[in-house]
């Protein structure tokens, strides 16, 4: 097996839209790295039950050494607890414990810290960074939250950090509190008008709840800004690589091409593309179409499936020709069965390593 796979990589981020098998691929890559002798941690978002059992992290959110391993290195795994990661961040960032309590109690915060768009991406990166900072692992592999599009993962943290923007809280703050009502201290008449419109559309209770949220969360701003800069620095570092996992249909492949262009523009390093569940294992596209006697129904189904996959192969070849200039491409066949133990992951990682040799 090649020992250069992810050799100089300290962080590997697996991105891709929902349902493409990101988590399984992330775990298999982690197995591969552990076999190469590295101390590796795989951070997952929402693993399937059997995969969680395989990794020994079912029902636990702590970093756990994967049971039953016999690798040159060591393999650890964890499920990211979004609520806790968010709360921990607030606890550290808020200057006083009672302010953190206030934030926890705000209803809008409660919604934000659960499953609204952008918040899982934030906590995934927050967890990644704190594990990276701990220096306990040679390599951290991050599985990312399911998004509609692969690129959403990179845009989410920016959106969220805008929330902590000083300007927003300034709108709602009224240092004197009594002078001329809620909007009294606002300097710009334009901004005051904007808030008035917002109030007429939403009502004053909403504005107050929102104001409460922004004013409380504002004190986390300094920490968040620092964190955003640090995390960004980590994401664009040469030792951080991105791995795009994608399934196989025309729209997904177009999206992958778009993603590889965007990610390059952002200064990130996309080094690997994994095409998951490309062809069923039984399929040899190069074999000749022999007519078999006696199994007419089966033969008809077989040739239908084959011609379907043959058409898809044409699309794939086009895609590969384009993307090869940017990154190495692995294609993983559809193994058909669910992965239910460490051996299953090893089998999959073997297929990836084999693909590497061929490339």
């Amino acid at each position: 097996m090649s020992s250069t796979l992810f050799q100089d990589t300290k962080v590997l981020i697996c991105v891709g839209s929902g349902g493409v098998g990101k988590t399984t691929v992330a775990a298999s890559l982690a197995v591969l790295a552990a076999k190469e002798g590295r101390r590796v941690l795989v951070l997952t978002i929402d693993p399937a039950k059997r995969l969680a059992q395989t990794l020994g992290i079912e029902g636990s959110k702590d970093i756990t050494k994967v049971p039953g391993q016999n690798f040159a290195g060591e393999l650890y795994a964890s499920v990211i607890d979004h609520k806790k990661t968010f709360d921990d961040f607030v606890a550290r960032a808020a200057r006083k414990a009672e302010s953190a309590e206030k934030i926890y109690k705000n209803r809008l915060y409660q919604q934000l810290s659960t499953n609204l768009s952008g918040s899982q991406e934030f906590t995934a990166l927050e967890k990644l960074y704190s594990c990276y900072e701990s220096g306990e692992f040679d390599l951290i592999i991050l599985d990312t939250p399911p998004t509609k599009h692969a690129i959403d993962f990179l845009h989410a943290p920016q959106k969220l950090s805008a929330l902590f923007n000083e300007g927003v809280a300034k709108w709602f703050r009224d240092p004197e509190g009594k002078k001329s009502g809620f909007f009294g201290q606002l300097l710009q008449t334009g901004t005051r008008q904007v808030l008035k419109i917002l109030e007429s559309l939403t009502g004053s209770t909403f504005i107050h709840e929102l104001g409460d949220f922004f004013i409380n969360i504002e004190q986390c701003q300094e920490q968040l800004l620092k964190r955003t800069v640090d995390v960004h620095r980590l994401l664009v570092a040469p030792s951080t690589q991105f791995c795009l996992v994608t399934s196989f249909d025309q729209a997904k492949l177009k999206e992958a091409e778009y993603f590889s262009r965007e990610i390059k523009k952002g200064g990130y390093h996309l080094t690997t593309v994994v095409l998951n569940r490309v062809f069923p294992y039984w399929l040899d596209l190069r074999s000749e179409d022999k007519s078999q006697k006696g199994h007419a129904g089966l033969v008809s189904l077989y040739s239908q499936m084959r011609s379907y996959y043959n058409q898809r192969d044409l699309i794939y070849q086009q895609f590969e020709a384009n993307i090869r200039k940017e990154a190495r491409v692995f294609r993983i066949p559809d193994l058909v069965k669910d992965i239910s133990d460490l051996r299953g992951l090893e089998e999959l990682s073997g297929l990836i390593a084999e693909g590497e040799k061929k490339a």
Binding site: S17, G18, G19, V20, A48, R50, R107, L108, Q111, L112, N115, L116, S117, P146, K148, H149, I151, D152, K159, L160, A162, L163, G167, V168, W171, Q193, V194, I197, L198, S200, L201, T202, G203, S204, T205, F206, E209, S247, Q250, A251, P280, Y281, W282, D284, S287, K290, Q292, H295, G297, L298, V299, L301, Y302, M305, S307, Y308, Q311, V336, K337, D338
Partner: protein, 289 residues
Amino acid sequence: MKQEIHFVTGKGGVGKSVIAAALALKKSKEGKKVLLVELGDQSFFKDFLDLPEVGYQPTAIAPNLSVALWTGEACLQEYARHFIKVESLAKLFFENAVMKAFINVAPALPELAIMGKVTSGPRKHGPALPFDCLVVDAFATGHFIALLEAPKGMAQAVQFGPMGEQSRSIDACIRNKDLTSYHIVTLPEELPVKEATELFQRLKAEFEISADLIMNKVIATDLPLASLKEAQEEGSDLGKFAAYIEHQLEHQRAILEKAKQVPSDLQTVPLYFETNAWPLIQKIAEVLR
């Protein structure tokens, strides 16, 4: 006008969008004026159906059938403009840099704006939406729950004023069986069925919503098991294929049994070997109930 609303959701990768398009096509063929709604920043149907552009304003793609792409920000903009009326004020409101950032991230606001727009017809609130039927290709499971919870959460957080009122009326609308239907798309695989089951139960418990299940890509064949066994002995490609099909069918049967235990209306959509988008959508539209 009585407008029906359909939400199509499910785990990522199960074929939600294709099923949503097929449902929209079916409804349009029944003579309804249908809008297929995508949510998010980027359009799937633009690439999939090779359309020149898909944006906030509906684009006609077939007789009686249009498609649109809605973001929380665009919904909110349109809504606010409808009520502000004075263009210069609206401009001031939205072109403020802080407001822009704020609209995108204020907790639950984008979700609420989308739900407000989706239900604006039956609630007769906001700009007119001249369609008989809305088919929403909605977010995947987790984010879909957040979308449904936004009006309820907002109504609890904000009890008084227009925001609270609107939120309550949206919430009532999405629970109204006569107006709104929910379709959870799944595959004959373990994880998608597990996720669909959990979503079904959550919708029931939290919103008293009865969603139906659509199992997509079911291998439809009446090949007898004995002939599959026999073919496997040949050791050729066909033998491997027979083993594959046997395994798939067995797995499929077990999963289907599991799905049937969910007290929901379940229908299956066969796996079609069709790489072209329109023919695929048409085939599925024909079998959908």
